[in-house]
Symmetry: C2
């Protein structure tokens, strides 16, 4: 049967052949995760995704969430799927088993998530919040807070949320106005209104653990006066049983373009003066704590983008194989052929394929860095892996989700008119994936994060650590006759990226600072393109060695497909990237100097 | 009040300052259309659009069309709006008043359509079919057919449709199987099933005139055996009154991503053996006749793209002016500012603005060519204008709608999370506009039309006619100090486009023919980019002269905005276009040579 979420062979290739994840089992922490066990876990995830979760995708979109009598009902099928995710241990797979996690490697998890998320983004998006919320509680919570909430979060017994955004305060959290007043018993009374709270209410779990950003009375203004609180939907007694309902209620849900199965809630805190929360960590340190979770969440959003793109692509490939329409544009034979034979369709499919492969490798690479960091004893090495994770996070979120939107858009185009109808899933996937470029920091915010934080940090050290890693792959591939031309193209692009980064660095420190910010998004795009090229060159190098050893049939096609992706990307996409970098270097000031009135519309 | 459909000043600029449409009134055919009259007509269109049609936009999306008991009901508000379009004469504004048209210039109409379509694409899409259907009847119909149907179509009293697509036959109409058998009385009995018929049924008009493609028994196979018929929903008596219902019925409507107010119908013809039609023109000449309508329809779809993009842009600008969020990224002032001040938002807005301006100018230019052709007595000149129309049509449809989708996507991004909700109209506009890249020939089909028909026609004569026109603008602008650098950039890009076209021309005639087709879409994109640059340079040249004469206040800002658009596009987008052309010249074969299995998914 045709696959419809993620190409199994490619997932295995990335995990085992590109990143050799099995080598982790040499380390005590991951000793039980040899290749066989990993494959078993992957296989479980795939079966769960395809057999149990995927059937909820369309009904989730069409039924959607309902808000009635102050409560949210998710699509009825979701509860069963949620419970199967609990059973499979998919709420915090990489976390400490002591607290309900499964302790599996991050690289394995990111590949498993490709299947799970690809089966139903709405459901997995809500489920995915537990992990990040749990991590904050694990890292910053008191013993009591951990005892009460952590296992419930990591196992999925209860839901978890991030209660951040307010109507006047989205990208800039420093402005938030929800207030916290300390009570005599050490708890805090919270008052305010929040919006866009994913999973703010739902009927899949008995309780929901809300992590709330608020400002303690008298705190400094801006982002330095923000604290983080736990405010559960139902208070929890010492024995773990549920007590009274807390005064944090959902007042409505958003009507959205997609993601209909995920309730996006408006929340009123303390409208009856009785929203009680407990402080996490110290007062006024809320934002940095939240950022721990946000970095995790940003990579999760990258995974969401990949999963949607990957599924949309496979739907398009399958359709292209079956749909007969028109003869080939050349030649005299007027027999209609499957559209996979039409050059323009092949161009779309290979564009999608090469990007998805690059993105899958990138996200697995970042996860692998996390694993390497965990198993390493060498502090310098750990720092280097963290540097790479830090600089790659905005790419893994911003670039990946932008391209994911493009890929899903292209999938619709492969289907033609059918792609616009609900008869095929690509239009839903496109509506669903669109949010990934917005939430957890819009992609404009990601571009700024790359430019003015990650690029500048430690005197550009993060950036040059990345350049060094890319060069390693170029050097290796450059030694192989077949790959040397492609390696040369990546090298040329990398050299230009370094120049571009230097130009941006200088501009940020000089007069042209606003201009530089005006090119932040294009800089993220160019950086991401070069990273795609790197990942595809790396894949091609692995494939070329396999081909050399002699492979046949479907395997030969798979490996040749790796060479084709790389060839296509380097020769068709990288020249455009070169153009993008020329644009950046020119640093046109028009977008900054144009007057507001000139934008028209008044 | 902020404008939300099309910037009035820009519409006037294009019509009167860039194309000096008033000069048409020197010719007898358009003698009554001096500037004052044109402005009055534009103003009427704008008022109708803003006051009467725009209020139906959201309800049209949310109510949508219903299919009940074999009949389609459009959103109830649509009928009133349709009648106002009748009253305003907006169904066939450029057509002969003898048959119910208004005889207005095409350039004026395309600007008026910007307002009307931008107010509600669903409604205007259905209404827009009348004009094309009418043109076929006018051009190919018998005296009797014209007497029965033409005025009803041109005035909007009845609906008109194009009944082409079948489930196995979309892009390649040659394969269609609906059959026609000639009856003794000279009529034909039609039998078959059609899908994706816009306006195939609706309850806004008493009758619907269906133009049906079918194959007469014994006709040659493929596209040379297709005939065109009129099959009205209700037969029409000689006195114009309605007779019996015809056996052409709607069997269902599509559930779609957007365009919910436009019923996309499945139609059964002759399911009771009684679908009677009359032949239009001669047997087996149906397809060329249909293409007359399709070329008109394709430019109309370009207008649809522009209208959506233009509206989405203005919503984004208005929001950006009002939404306060975060301080500027540079400097010490931590006061939150309107997001229109943020460099990344300005980048998005100027990207959108420059593309919309280029597209508006292009569509007005094509319409103006049509007007020039009409008023010209010189056959060589007429041919030249037609050449330009022919080569620009796939750009006006394919490039414009692709960019329109991008612009609407970007508008959502400006809104952040709010853009994903139904609280603001941009998510609907995005869902609506997506179809424009698909219907009336997918944009892949447009790319092929440019490559293997328009480029090759008359030994590349169409292409070089276009190049000559672009050069005229470059030469003029090159003589002005301020514009000379920008003119140089357009010239460089044009030179490379010529080389690219030569490469494509050679490839089509040689071994690399499939590769060339694989780059058809990128060639369309690069061609479109260069045309945008041309139009923006032209606009800048007009603006620069006005600035020289001395302008102040809002007017100065408007003209300076023209220089900024050109500067931004040439320096930020054209370098990327150069990269695209490098890609094309390299003509990578990977997309053609990759094996089907290598695409994976099996």
């Amino acid at each position: 049967m045709a696959q419809v979420i993620a190409d199994r062979r490619d997932v295995e290739f990335v995990l085992h052949e590109q990143f050799e994840a099995g080598r982790l089992s040499r380390h005590k922490r991951y000793s039980e995760f040899n290749r066989k066990v990993m494959d078993m876990i992957l296989s479980e995830a795939r079966t769960l995704a395809v057999k149990e979760i995927l059937p909820t995708l369309k009904t989730g979109d069409q039924t959607g969430c309902r808000y009635e009598n102050g409560k949210v009902r998710v699509p009825p099928e979701f509860k069963r799927a949620w419970n199967l995710l609990i059973k499979g241990g998919w709420f915090a797979p990489c976390q400490d088993p002591e607290w309900g996690g499964q302790g599996i490697p991050h690289s394995l998890n990111v590949m498993a998530q490709n299947y799970l998320i690809g089966a139903n983004l709405s459901l997995l998006m809500v489920a995915g919040l537990n992990n990040g919320a749990g991590q904050i509680v694990e890292r910053f919570g008191s013993g009591r807070q951990k005892a009460l909430y952590l296992e419930k979060l990591y196992t999925g017994q209860w839901g978890g949320t991030m209660v951040l955004t307010e109507s006047e305060c989205g990208s800039n959290l420093g402005d938030l106005s929800t207030s916290a007043v300390k009570n005599e018993d050490g708890t805090y009374s919270l008052t305010g209104n929040k919006i866009f709270i994913s999973g703010g209410d739902q009927d899949m779990t008995d309780n929901i653990v809300h992590l709330v950003l608020a400002r303690v009375a008298g705190a400094p203004p801006g982002s330095r006066g923000i604290s983080l609180f736990i405010a559960p939907k139902f208070h929890v007694n010492e024995d773990g049983s549920l007590g009274e309902q807390n005064d944090i209620i959902c007042t409505g849900i958003e009507e959205k373009m997609g993601l209909h199965g995920s309730p996006t809630c408006s929340m009123a805190l303390g409208s009856r003066g009785k929203c009680i929360g407990t402080l996490l960590g110290e007062e006024n340190k809320g934002l940095p704590m939240m950022f721990v979770m946000m970095n995790h969440a940003r990579l999760m959003v990258g995974s969401q983008g990949l999963a949607c793109a990957s599924s949309a692509y496979l739907h398009a490939v399958n359709y292209a194989r079956e749909r007969i329409q028109g003869p080939l544009p050349s030649g005299r034979d007027k027999t209609s052929v499957a559209i996979i034979n039409h050059p323009d369709v092949r161009r779309m499919l290979l564009t999608m394929k090469s990007h998805i492969e690059g993105m899958r490798s990138l996200l697995c690479y970042i996860a692998d860095l996390e694993d390497q960091k965990i198993v390493s004893d060498d502090e310098a090495e750990k720092e280097k892996w963290q540097n790479l994770i830090d600089i790659l996070t905005p790419v893994g979120k911003g670039y990946v989700t932008d391209r994911a939107v493009d890929v899903c858009n292209m999938a619709i185009q492969v289907f033609g008119g059918y792609g616009y109808t609900a008869e095929f899933p690509v239009e839903q996937i496109f509506r669903d994936v669109r949010i990934t470029a917005i939430y957890e920091g819009t992609n404009g915010i990601q571009a700024m994060d790359l430019l003015d934080r990650k690029l500048l940090m430690k005197n550009n050290r993060l950036f040059f650590d990345l350049v060094d890693e890319i060069k390693k792959t170029i050097t290796k591939a450059g030694q192989r006759d077949l790959l040397s031309p492609l390696a040369g193209m990546v090298e040329t692009a990398l050299d230009k990226l370094v120049q571009t980064a230097r130009k941006m660095d200088q501009s940020l420190k000089g007069e042209a600072v606003l201009q530089a910010y005006g090119f932040a998004s294009l800089f993220l795009e160019a950086t991401g393109d070069v990273i795609m090229a790197w990942m595809l060159l790396w894949r091609a190098a692995v494939a070329e060695k396999k081909i050399e050893t002699g492979v046949e049939g479907k395997e030969a096609d798979f490996y040749d497909g790796q060479l084709k992706s790389a060839d296509f990307f380097m020769r068709t996409h990288l020249p455009v990237t070169m153009g993008k970098m020329s644009s950046i270097m020119d640093l046109c000031s028009a977008a900054i100097t144009i007057s507001d009135t000139s934008f028209g519309g008044k």
